[in-house]
């Protein structure tokens, strides 16, 4: 099969080569065929064999190419010659090719994935049950591509979106002293939406948010979050977004989870939440790359006056759970945080998964 494919390619090259080498007399037209004597033909043919350029350091694949090149020209002449003469006069080719598989393949092809060329799997009768089952194995990014295949696939994905893979979205809240930035990005893609908001006391930025918010909505970011993430995520997001933007109302929620890319930035959030949502019990989910050095950043917990703190550490770094837990307890001891108020849970995940109430 490979050989046939090569032959096709080479025959193209052959015609190109011949166009530079042939004289009009060499072209095997009917006229030439009748003019040329049967004796003259083998000589010319054999001369072509010997004229075939010998490559001193040729690889096996190149030798193979040369052979096919010759066979191609012979076949074209065969038509021009009388049948009985051709068979009698054709010289035998002294072809000696030793092909050792893989030994002479050029480096650039050695790691080439030929698998891509192998299969054609015609989908004769589409069975939606089977297609749906296949979709269940795919990620949201793959499903995005599948939407562009055909109308049927697009409709199937849209219809069953509730049962198919969710988009892994990372949401990060980056609060400063007054400002907070809400950033949503699809892992591992680019940052797709970003807007900032301030608390209700800063009108200027609230107005800015009014402009930004519809933009974000138009981009489909929040719509996507609402549609494609589970209700708990949406609730969490609703809790985080400020009331003043007029788009989403903050409801009093008992447990609010948020994730933060930098633990330092958590400091202003609890205070802000207390004012806004008047919550009595705060559950904090921290998703961050956990390093032991970060433990000192837990200082902010000391300032909180909630009755109970549930601290959920979601770490994406492979560190032993007991080391993390011990470090946190040590840090809380230093801070003077009473043990009865501590409710610490450490979850270790890979990059994709977060805690029950956390974010993806």
């Amino acid at each position: 099969m490979v050989r046939t494919r090569s032959a096709k390619i080479i025959s193209n090259n052959d015609s190109k080569c011949e166009s530079t080498q042939k004289t009009p007399n060499d072209i095997p037209t009917k006229q030439n065929a009748t003019k040329s004597t049967p004796q003259a033909q083998p000589i010319r043919r054999s001369s072509r064999i010997h004229n075939t350029p010998k490559l001193p350091n040729t690889s096996n694949s190149e030798i193979q190419i040369t052979e096919i090149l010759y066979l191609g020209t012979t076949r074209s002449r065969k038509r021009a010659l009388p049948k009985n003469e051709t068979k009698a006069k054709r010289p035998k080719l002294p072809v000696q090719i030793k092909v050792e598989p893989g030994s002479e393949i050029p480096d650039e092809y050695k790691n080439f994935n030929f698998d891509f060329f192998i299969e054609i799997l015609p989908l004769n009768t589409p069975n939606f049950g089977v297609i749906f089952e296949i979709f269940k194995f795919l990620t949201r990014t793959d499903l995005d591509k599948c939407q562009f295949v055909c109308k049927t696939w697009k409709n199937e994905i849209e219809k069953d979106v509730e049962n198919l893979a969710l988009r892994p979205i990372e949401i990060a809240i980056k609060p400063g002293l007054e400002t907070c930035n809400f950033v949503a990005k699809e892992r591992p893609g680019l940052w797709l939406a970003m807007y900032g908001f301030l608390n209700h006391e800063s009108k200027q930025v609230v107005e800015l948010n009014k402009e930004n918010m519809p933009k974000v909505m138009k981009m489909g970011c929040l719509v996507s979050l609402k549609m494609r993430l589970t209700p708990s995520y949406w609730e969490t997001l609703r809790g985080i977004l400020p009331k003043q933007n007029g788009q989403i109302a903050i409801e009093r929620v008992q447990n609010v989870s948020f994730t933060c890319s930098n633990i330092q930035n958590l400091r202003s959030i609890p205070t802000w939440f207390k004012k806004q949502a008047k919550i009595d019990e705060l559950s904090i989910t921290i998703a961050f790359n956990f390093y032991q050095d970060s433990i000192t950043d837990l200082n902010f917990l000391q300032k909180l006056d909630y009755t109970k703190i549930k601290l959920v550490i979601n770490t994406y770094v492979a560190a032993r759970e007991e080391i993390i837990t011990r470090s946190i307890h040590d840090a809380l001891d230093d801070l003077g945080c009473e043990e009865k108020y501590r409710d610490i849970e450490v979850n270790q995940f890979n990059w994709k998964v977060s805690g029950e109430d956390g974010f993806l």
Partner: protein
Amino acid sequence: MATESANGVSSPELNERDVVITTNDNRNFTVKIGVARVSKTINNMIQDLGESLDLSSGIPLPNVDGPIFEKVLEWCEEHKNAPEIKVEQDPHTRERKWFTMTEWEEEYFRKFLSHLWDLAMAANYLEIPSLYYYTCQKLAERIKGRTPEQIREMFGIEDDLTEEEKAEIRRTNVWCTY
């Protein structure tokens, strides 16, 4: 499952008996009942027929053709005593967890690569969960990482989406990078 008799009573002897299965191209396959019972559809037929089951007259399979059934039988033969597969999904992303296949299974799908669709549909009809889910996984594997054009080319699907429709998808789905 393999040890239940036609009327639900445990009977290993029955599993060793042969039954004739007729495919839609009128090919007859003589199969051990124990092997045929890997298919829940056939198993139900055997159980429903009970004592009245005439093993020689054959069980008709109008939706499966001979060549595909032959391949399915190969799978059933290998999986006759295999436990039920467990289908799991990631609770967060809702993605189906991929199965780990044995050497034999990998080789099986390599051998019948061009019949994956037929196998999936036959497994669906015959209710053979292992073959069904594994085939779907194999098909998903072919789709993964390919562009829409490559998928269309591979499955011989015609692009019937207009440019406006494609633009609409892009507009409503900002996460989509196509």
